[in-house]
Symmetry: C2
Subunit: 390 residues, 2 copies
């Protein structure tokens, strides 16, 4: 009896050691994978475990090599089972949303199990790694606003454009109320769908408004890419950027004409992420008659430089007279993820130093444990909108 | 000189013959391919030519076999060039919208060049083959309505659901006007995104309203799948279908509460495609106090049977007293594509015979040259909405 107990103990210890280390001495993968919240309806894969590992599965019986490509730098080899199904997982990922794709014999394709998102210049797979603070963007039993999609023709760019507009839960029922407006800009290689699909802007606002942590507001999400048409002689010249002009002359008048807005600078904010942060700060500083609340998430107009900013020259000296500028701005607000790569910490830091030297007050937030990704921006939005229009 | 001319002529004739027949005597493919309108921004492939052939291209240098899979029945082998890029095209397709996918060494994946659509039970690639009458759903310089997206919790299904609502161009500006409502249902293995993404409902209505061919109306597109939760003992039993109850008790009151509707049966229509046609006709006939306009596109409640309908038994005898029913219905309207496969022509035909025997008047439309696909339903919608609320 004692002998059996001793043998069982040895076996149990061996089992424990092998589970802990896995094969070939690698750290064991925790087998608590669950389907990702970003999956297509009814799909079990991709999955995520409590360590943040992403496991994918795809049937490709004739393939020689299948890999998971996530976080832009790592390729993870999948292993084929006897049924021709490839399976494998990544190293632990940061909490939050990540773009990814699958390589099949040298072809980069979306994972047919995931929903698709526009980012990195393409519609492709994305996956949600549950975050410890995901409650603030969870779908809850609170009143929900509408997300309104509008097509319009831009005379400036001579092209069709699309705008998404969030209206707060009481917008339809309080048919006399007027609302302040936040213009919210996406990043480079993203588009007007980013803030609602990846950014969860409607859920963040629905939750904050339900808890009276944010005032009901309208949020406008347009496309930050806008170029004037060139004539035939100009074809070789650089693109004619026109987003500021489209924003000021077309988007704002359209929104004020179609929605019950409070159409003055005290009730108009502009914010953006990365490229959109650069745009938001520039547009606001150039148009202080239109905006009084300004935010840049993971970006500033001196991007990508980390050099000390020359206030006499930067943005045509807009920050030279800091005191006057400070009086005109109700709130200037910046944010960054603690794991952001170069050049973001350097360039945001140089911009902050310039503000401090100029005597311009600003708010600042750091998203813990996140890089240049959507959880940084969801958290930044959640922090920023609580300060608006109060 | 003459000799050269003669040789050149021979070469030209050979060139012409080879271009006309292609290799191995196959009919030549017309080389007038252009990027599809359904492509991701900036992508050249997939392409469509004037014959309706779909040409795809994908880099897969290590793959052994790559195929295009379109129209559910055909696999077209692609050919690899020296750079590892596979290319090839389908036979001519019907005009209109088609789902498709690519097979890479046995893996079925979306084409990373196309936009993605929900149909056939998955988000995947779709392609638009230009139609001779595509003008009616073209994006034009006319006033455009909004597409509004709303999340709501259904008490009946104990689940979160999503609803898309089209409001006509003058809805925001005529802030006192009230509007009639069309409830528009998708088909099986589709969802609430189908009618706006593949169906182009907003563009069809914008164009018709601009030309005063349709009255301004609100169009509601919800998800036709709705099931009551089961308790633990019921798990093996069939699903508890609840869409009619959700429509009557939750969706209609929500829409009448959130939008400026004319909330009576004279100003409420219901229509659907395929499975949604079956649902629309059943829901309307069961709730004639709510609806007076009814349409089924490519579907009827006797699906999939083509047998003669027994009016005493069919839908609990709802069509038995045809004259009374006929007086209550303002418009009953059916449609079908001329190329629809079995069982649709048979079952729609049997339903029409039953209506005729019952003395129930109905409108009927056939979409020329289209099968059980979205161009049939775009055309049907365009025809039907012109008859509504007049």
């Amino acid at each position: 009896m004692k002998k059996y107990f001793f043998l069982s103990s040895i076996l149990l210890i061996m089992l424990f050691v092998s589970l802990s280390l896995g094969y070939a001495g690698q750290p064991a993968v925790k087998e608590d994978f669950r389907p990702a919240s970003t999956n297509q309806p009814g799909r079990d894969y991709p999955m995520v475990n409590s360590e943040g590992r992403v496991r994918v599965q795809i049937k490709a019986p004739e393939a020689q090599r299948v890999q998971l490509d996530i976080s832009a730098v790592k390729y993870y080899d999948l292993v084929k089972d006897t049924g021709g199904v490839w399976i494998g997982e990544s190293a632990p990922q940061d909490e939050g949303f990540h773009y990814y794709q699958i390589w099949i014999d040298g072809a980069a394709v979306p994972d047919p199990g995931s929903m698709f998102f526009y980012g990195a210049g393409r519609w492709g797979s994305g996956i949600e790694v549950p975050a410890h603070d995901q409650d603030f963007y969870a779908l809850k039993n609170v009143p929900h606003g509408f997300l309104n999609e509008k097509l319009y023709f831009s005379q400036i760019t001579q092209s069709w454009r699309r705008c998404f507009v969030y209206t707060p839960p009481d917008y339809e029922t309080n048919s006399k109320s007027r609302y302040p407006v936040l213009y919210l800009l996406h990043g480079s290689f993203e588009d007007e769908t980013g803030w609602s699909n990846q950014g969860k802007v409607n859920l963040i606002l629905d939750n904050l408004i339900a808890n009276e942590k944010a005032v009901p507001m309208i949020i406008v999400m347009d496309n930050g890419y806008a170029f004037k048409p060139k004539n035939d002689l100009d074809q070789g010249s650089p693109p004619l950027f026109a987003f500021e002009e489209v924003m000021v002359k077309e988007i704002i008048p359209m929104i004020d004409g179609s929605f019950r807005t409070i159409a003055d600078r005290e009730h108009r904010a502009i914010a953006g992420l990365s490229m959109g942060a650069n745009q938001a700060i520039r547009i606001a500083i150039n148009n202080l008659d239109l905006f009084s609340y300004i935010a840049g998430f993971s970006g500033t107009p001196n991007y990508p430089s980390a050099d000390k900013i020359d206030r006499d020259k930067f943005m045509n000296g807009a920050f030279k007279d800091g005191k006057t500028l400070d009086r005109k701005i109700k709130l200037l607000w910046l944010s960054l993820g603690t794991k952001e790569p170069d050049p973001f910490p350097g360039s945001v830091g140089a911009f902050r130093s310039m503000l401090e030297e100029s005597g311009i007050k600003y708010g600042y937030y750091e998203s813990p444990g996140t890089a240049h990704e959507w959880l940084t921006w969801r958290r930044s939005l959640c922090q920023f909108v609580q300060l608006l229009f109060k």
